[in-house]
Homo-oligomer: 380 residues x 2
Amino acid sequence: MHGDPPLSIPPAHPDWLDAELRERDATAFVHVGSGSMLRYLTGYEGHATTVFVYTPDATVLCVPQTVESVPDSPERVRRFDARQKHPGQVAVDVLDELLESRVETVLTPPTIPHDAALYLSAEYELASTDAIERARREKAESERTRIAVAQGVAATGLDRAREVLAAADRSGDRLLWEGDVLTTGRLRDAINTEIATAGGVPCNGTRIGVGGPPESTRTDVAIPPATTIAVSVAPREPEGYHGHLTRTLVVDGDGGWERRAHVAVTNARSAALATLDAGAGVTTGELHRELVAELGAYGFDPSPESGDVIANLGHGVGLDPREPPAVDGTTELSAGTILAVRPGLADAQQGYVALGDVIVVEEDGVRRLVEYPLSMEPGS
Amino acid sequence: MHGDPPLSIPPAHPDWLDAELRERDATAFVHVGSGSMLRYLTGYEGHATTVFVYTPDATVLCVPQTVESVPDSPERVRRFDARQKHPGQVAVDVLDELLESRVETVLTPPTIPHDAALYLSAEYELASTDAIERARREKAESERTRIAVAQGVAATGLDRAREVLAAADRSGDRLLWEGDVLTTGRLRDAINTEIATAGGVPCNGTRIGVGGPPESTRTDVAIPPATTIAVSVAPREPEGYHGHLTRTLVVDGDGGWERRAHVAVTNARSAALATLDAGAGVTTGELHRELVAELGAYGFDPSPESGDVIANLGHGVGLDPREPPAVDGTTELSAGTILAVRPGLADAQQGYVALGDVIVVEEDGVRRLVEYPLSMEPGS
């Protein structure tokens, strides 16, 4: 039976995890769950709740018997019967086998499921660690390569959005495309088709907002002319890493609020990238302040209470389409951090304008992964 | 600013949650997290960690300030600054406001994040409940409709897989399609393109296994003739519900093991559906035993140790592509339960054959959502 490629990203015995165990005077690390943290730690991506136990001497991955396809490292993979044994008990049993005594400290992510944590804390001294979050923040070269692939697919998806909107004809207060009313659902399907054709997986990252922020797939409304159309794409490439690209387009705009907002957002974007030109060491809070100040300089009230300035100015990108760090707070950006920098403005009456691009922080500067046109005109 | 449609699935004050609170002598229910449980409880789908507090008198959803688009029920939605306050503390503050005293019992899902649970249990008596899991198991009519839509999209995706494989030409130990070697990656992209065109979102549910079980998107290998190709699709429709369809195809098969396995799996499938003809009241364990016994009757060793019989014979389908109940254990199937019934056989040397269909358990029988051909021949 075939399996996924061997556990490959990150290395099986990462230095950062060994260092964290030493620093915290702990002997093991345990994660219970599924999703991107498990994928990061093991290379394995599955639906089922899985147990990961790590010591400097051993790495053990326990998956339920019902899982068919697991990474082909048989010496590290064990099976358990989820009907008979709780994942928390599975973790305790593996620890009992690997460790010499129960007085030792075991680290877990703070968000480990509470039921599993209760099994563990009944037998071991439990402490939480954000080491995985910190490690995930600095992307390895192989991860940056994957995100660049995803970002190329994102650009293809946005190209398609521009094509569709450029080909749409105005008919009163609606747009027609290929003989029918153009809705956010039809535009999303066209973008997703392009993303899939280009080898990406659209997941739920393709979001479109008409006169407001990009919306989940639950929304399907007619797209009118002279209204902001915020298109956000975050496709996944086959290895599991995401891209992020946001552009705002307007068909037959009247050049009012959205034109002024677009100038402000474009300049805030340049200012933010200039701030990052200093390279590693800038904090997410400094970036946030620079974006807000620049938007304010164009007459948009920078206080959160006004409702003018949108709140989400950016976030990390990786195995999750949105992951830490948020563009605020006090996180110091280190070389290898990948961010979606995403200045934007919202006005309940006038619309929504945002520009989001993925950048890599480097020792001595910042690099954009893909250069993509900023224009609001679909046809330009 | 626009928002998602109002909280609509399930009703804002579900009877089952009120009943659970009464039965457990509890006064509130709290969930902290993101993902499908939050989506089920509130209609809201987001990346950010969100706090949901429920009492029979009030429903409060607290989202981080950085979230742009939330359900438009302003009286129920509050904002918090995730830099200043932990979601667990947010939950405690809302409870303090809604409840009369701190001696009351608060229910949470067992898998609530441990850090949030520590905030809560410091102030309130905490107890876990599986009421949400039980409620999610019985799909409302509106949910069944959505899953039927997703299942129609799944059939379209499988149609495309059959078309591609039927059009492929044998060239030695490989298949050529549109002038190039046909790989699992190319086949997946073709299926995903079709799913997106049909208005579905493929997410990561499109999995293809060559000579083995369906694999994650990390695998990209050439597809040879005379080898089992297991194709599994689980697209999402716009509201967030999934379908599930698994078929096994062979190009230029030699009619050996895979033919025998296909007959056995086809008959196990019929037997399982006949078992379900009794309607509500059958247990998942009975279904499991029926499937294993029928596969055994065709000479395939039904013991888990042999490696012959595959482990995953089915699972629930809904807001998650795989959700409870698993097809094993002691869960009694009630009217409204939606299952992917998925008999299959694996042999490390010979290949992998599985057939997966979505069924609805009804009071007095079982209904398949989509009838789809069982044949292993792509062109038939």
